[in-house]
């Protein structure tokens, strides 16, 4: 059973009291409990099962403007006492930092609305097994599929965040995740692809057969790829990849990257950074949203933020510490974005595909080729050559490269946005990127 709020709150207040007693001027504590059960299948039979049950505690103690932190998974009172002592001793010799402080009291979340983030349904392992059987049956129906691996994870979590300003709140969340990876083979090649579905509520998970079929189809169509020559070409990014572009953007506007001066978007507030048709929104209160939250990791209330309005950068993602450095108030984004998305563009997917007579459609990228300081981008890629709106043949062993500063200004979005994950994007086209191949 997942520990209740009462248990977590009692641990949290034990920690705060102890820290205060030792002489800490302020303190903040997070206590969490999480239970997770996973069943893995491979080639239509049980491969592994995994159960985890974990408590976690993290404490920050302040002595004026000095601060340090500890974390542990051992919640025995005796251990907590030893750790807080150690933490406070460390705090005493850590140099002062004028920007260290708890969040401003008036910014803390006052009321918790029910965002329907917890589904108490227990999906027994036998039912997970039945789901995965159906999934792998459909995933392996084509004889070009030579290996299937799938898994179902059920997670239930509960947490409490408390600080010495009197904030003390938390709530339960759940997630159910089904995923499938398939391997297909023909005389020329072996390829892998995947599909997954992750939801707060069990009833919203994709049908097992749909998920299996999708994974298999995505994999089979990659077989017998070609390498193309090096050229400038328009690139269409599948939703899987375009949402990653949005995550990169979010990292570049975090108050930490901005205050340290290590972002290519520093000093760009109120300036054009995207094409003027682009709007980017971060909305924390979507019912059942995978990224939804009532408050951020410091307890600060988070409201919907328009990050990009008609291509213009309107807001950074601000936490308390870096906010103070930048002279900005926290906007409840300590810990990053919530439900982040591009608003729909005004062209259909079909029209986007036909916009150029020849383009490259990218379904997967590999490598860590995004440089947030310079904006340079260079990654390995897999996809398809598209001619006159039709997929011609699969392409791999190529790289795509550009610089985000130019790429962002050349984005064209389709109108096929769906809310599947915590970061969502319509299909995206960027004209004039460099492909390196043969």
């Amino acid at each position: 059973m997942i520990k209740d709020q009462e248990f977590l709150k009692s641990k949290a207040s034990y920690c705060l009291d102890l820290a205060k007693k030792m002489g800490a001027t302020d303190a903040s504590v997070t206590v969490g409990h999480s239970i997770s059960e996973t069943v893995n299948f491979r080639n239509k039979s049980l491969d592994a099962s995994d159960r985890s049950d974990g408590l976690a505690l993290s404490i920050e103690t302040y002595l004026g403007k000095r601060r340090s932190s500890i974390s542990s998974s051992n919640l025995l009172d005796e251990n907590i006492k030893t750790l807080i002592e150690k933490c406070f001793e460390t705090t005493k010799i850590t140099p002062e930092d004028e920007f260290n402080s708890l969040p401003d009291k008036d910014l803390l979340a006052k009321q918790i609305s029910n965002l329907d983030l917890y589904d108490e349904t227990r999906f027994e392992n036998d039912k997970k097994i039945k789901y995965l059987k159906d999934l792998e049956e459909s995933a392996s129906s084509d004889n070009q599929i030579i290996n299937t691996e799938s898994s179902f994870t059920e997670n239930k979590s509960n947490f409490v965040l408390a600080n010495s300003e009197g904030f003390c709140d938390g709530y339960k969340t759940s997630s159910f995740t089904a995923s499938c990876v398939t391997v297909a083979k023909d005389e020329n090649s072996m390829e892998r692809d995947y599909e997954f579905s992750s939801k707060r509520h069990l009833s919203d998970i994709k049908q097992a057969t749909d998920l299996g079929n999708k994974a298999a189809n995505e994999t089979i169509r990659k077989l017998s790829p070609n390498k193309i020559g090096s050229e400038k070409i328009s690139i269409i990014f599948d939703k899987r990849i375009s949402k990653g572009m949005l995550s990169t953007f979010a990292s570049a506007i975090s108050a930490s990257a901005i205050s340290r001066g290590t972002s290519f978007l520093k000093d760009k507030i109120d300036q054009q950074v995207f094409a003027n048709s682009i709007n980017v929104i971060d909305k924390p209160d979507i019912i059942k949203g995978m990224g939804s939250q009532n408050f951020d990791s410091e307890g600060v209330n988070s409201n919907t933020l328009q990050l990009i309005e008609n291509g213009i950068l309107k807001n950074y993602l601000v936490d308390t510490y870096n906010g103070k450095k930048l002279n900005l108030k926290s906007n409840g984004r300590s810990g990053g974005t919530t439900n982040l998305y591009f608003e729909n563009g005004n062209i259909s997917y079909e029209d986007l595909m036909k916009k150029n007579s020849r383009c490259l459609y990218i379904t997967e990228t590999i490598g860590h080729g995004s440089n947030l300081v310079t904006g340079d981008y260079s990654v390995g890629a897999t996809g398809f050559l598209v001619e006159n709106g039709e997929f011609k043949y699969p392409v791999n062993e190529i790289t795509i490269a550009g610089n985000f500063k130019d790429m962002f200004k050349n984005i064209i979005l389709a109108n096929d946005l769906e809310f599947e994950y915590s970061v969502n994007s319509p299909t995206m086209m960027i004209e004039g990127m460099t492909v390196a191949g043969k």
């Binding site: 995994d50 460390t90 790829p225 490598g367 860590h368 310079t374 260079s378 790289t399 191949g437």
Partner: protein, 470 residues
Amino acid sequence: MSIFFDKSDLTRQDTDKIVSETLKNCDDGELYLEESKSESILLDDNKIKSSNYSSDLGFGFRAISDEVVAYSYSNEISKDSLKSSSENLKSTLKSIKGTYNHEIPKTNKKLYEDINPIEQKTLKSKLEILNKVNDFLRKKDGSVKQVTASFAGEQKSIEIIRSGGEVITDVRPLIRFNVSVMLEKNGRKETGVYGIGGRQSYDDYLKNDNWKHVCEEALRIASVNLESKPAPAGEMKVVLGPGWPAILIHEAIGHGLEGDFNRKKTSAFHNLMGQKVASEGVTIVDDGTIDNRRGSLTIDDEGTPTERTVLIEKGILKGFMQDRHNARLMNTKSTGSGRRENYRHIVLPRMRNTMMLSGNQTQDEMIKSVDKGIFAVSFGGGQVDITSGKFVFNCTEAYEINNGKIGSPIKGATLIGDGPSILKEVSMVGNDMMMDPGIGTCGKAGQGVPVGVAQPSILIDKMTVGGTKL
């Protein structure tokens, strides 16, 4: 007294009983107990930004029957908790009919000392060094706009209890010191990163003001990048420098030779054993037995002593890296490659220190032989698609080569290649094999483990460079 039992209602006798009873009809399994203490201290933006200490304690209980692995972990070490894990394992493995395999080889050789590096150096002296790093770099070069420096230290104690009461233990220290510097000049910003580390005390790595050398190296890389021009795009010759660039070997070859992917036949290498996969000059080993290296382990996380595993010998594929589970199913022996990030994770076959051995050519010969290509000296990270065999890695310091001479530095670019064929393109192998500085972490299935790499300079005849200049 054991650290795992002295604060619990669980006794060693109870534990032995539960473990033996749970695993009695299984093919394999063990109780893995782990205690870790770790610290991270970060200086950033002229200030000590964070100082964190963490302690973690828990167990992972594993039972294997034929191909099925049941796993349960908890961070509560108690009789109830262990019993409920045992029930959970038994309910997963409904029809157990295995034969328990007891055999674990022994080792007398320890590869590192039982030290706790965190306690061996005072916090005050660590803070002092971080502040010295900051002052040193900012004074040395006026274009330094940002300095980040960090210490990370850890002591991990593990105890493996097998059916029948056999107990195997290990205490593993690990430290890392890292410096990152950002320069700004004429409106351009570039960063340089360098670090050192391994399984000794902080002072073993920092003696003789060695932190200065780390600072200078980070600064040098950033300065080179400030002068860099756009990288070329397309297929060309690539000379790789010695040491850290061996992450090419790690990505291109290493992952594909891990036992699990080959048992499942999802690796591009699974049907190439005994075949020629590289030029004749290429020999690659994965060695877990080098003293004090970041990727070394006295025993792996299943209790098997590590070894030097030959993967490729003179171009021929000779071996895979195995944990016990995959080895048993493939009818071979564990190579001491069973590793896990911590008690929360299952064991997987993983790399330790992956090394290409020296040949007899020089880097000069390689550069002179190239009309048009690039010379890559340092890398960020890499990634591989095991199944298609395609891999990438990102240059963080590279130069163009024109008519046998090193030219201007070029911007960071991704290089992409095909694992099973790239080593056939190696036409020269240098005599200058070097280990990396001790900073690598490898990710697989959501688990990060410390690893090392090594190689001499090599010349690759054909590889795709992902720049922007056509």
